[in-house]
Amino acid sequence: MKKVVIDEAKCKGCGLCVHFCPKSALAMADRINSRGYHPAELVDEASCISCGICGRVCPDAVIEVFKP
């Protein structure tokens, strides 16, 4: 399981999680979800510190965060 689990289908691609991630571990994906948005994705799991900020700032409640 990844440290950051994103419900891509519900993501509206607002980019707040990417902006506030202190480790730049997230990015907007090139693909488009069924709602027509570029979803956020975890691109650098190694640098993710499981701080939970992405989950807290997500307005659409699509992100859950885990710590190994």
């Binding site: 980019g15 307005p59 659409d60 859950e64």
Partner: protein, 257 residues
């Protein structure tokens, strides 16, 4: 793996109708977190208002009533009186609360109705397409202030938290922002405290949440947050304007935050 952030249980797992980056979603989560943490879901009755949050009853997993524009505090009063052990909260925008609903919010505070009001201030009418609100900043362009809000025509924006804090019945009044992880954490604590005040039967509580409207402001969600910090917070200072611990003083209503 240990979960460090989970979606609150008192939110339904459904997509919202809010625009991308709209902070309504963040505030919904904070309210649901408070309900979860305090174990209030079984007793909670929310009151949705008119505006973008009109459908909030679809997102919270608790009983809800949908109120007429501005009347949520009156509807909440009716529920409050009919169900003494319920946890009653309203969720209102700035058009709803600060414009058409000023009488209802002032008198709910005056009676110290034991309810919690979540007041979302994004300085604009969102649902109807970006018209000027009582909270619109001087100079801010909207669809009904195309040259920017002019005080000579429309007066100065209304500071609701400060105004309500002057009312003896207002037990807890705070203003928070939702524009950074640190602000969101503080907002969550204020909202939780407001519900605690109600659960303890201490009377009227209100948390004003400075919020964004990227769509009607014509900004990206990230830029909209920066705009709040640069423009709104200086006019709408953050802090607790009233807490149960504060002594009653003639200066009631002045911020200590």
């Amino acid at each position: 793996m240990k979960q460090v952030y989970a979606v609150p249980k008192s939110l339904r797992p459904v997509p919202t109708h809010y625009c991308p980056g709209c902070t309504h979603g963040i505030i919904h989560k904070l309210v649901a977190d408070a309900i979860d943490e305090l174990g209030l879901r079984d007793r909670a009755v929310g009151v949705a208002s008119v505006g973008c949050s009109v459908f909030s009853y679809d997102y919270f997993d608790c009983d809800f009533q949908q109120a007429a524009h501005g009347r949520a505090p009156a509807v909440a009063t009716g529920i409050r009186r009919a169900v003494p052990d319920a946890i009653v909260f309203t969720y209102q925008g700035d058009g709803d609360l600060a414009s058409i609903g000023t009488a209802e919010i002032v008198h709910a505070a005056m009676r110290s109705e034991n309810i919690t009001v979540i007041f979302v201030n994004n300085a604009i009418y969102g649902m109807t397409g970006g018209q000027m609100a009582p909270t619109t900043l001087v100079g801010q362009k909207t669809t009904t202030s195309p040259r920017g809000r002019q005080p000579a025509l429309a007066g100065q924006p209304l500071r609701i938290a400060e105004m309500l804090a002057t009312i003896p019945g207002a037990t807890y009044v705070a203003r928070v922002s939702t524009t950074s992880p640190a602000h969101i954490a503080r907002a969550g604590r204020a909202i939780k405290k407001a519900f605690q005040v109600q659960a303890a039967g201490e009377g009227f509580s209100l948390v004003e949440c400075l919020s964004t409207c990227p769509t009607n402001w014509g900004m990206s969600p990230v830029d909209a947050m920066a705009w709040v910090e640069k423009n709104m917070i200086p006019y709408y200072p953050l802090g607790e304007f009233r807490t149960p611990e504060m002594p009653e003083t003639p200066e009631r209503g002045q911020a200590n935050g």
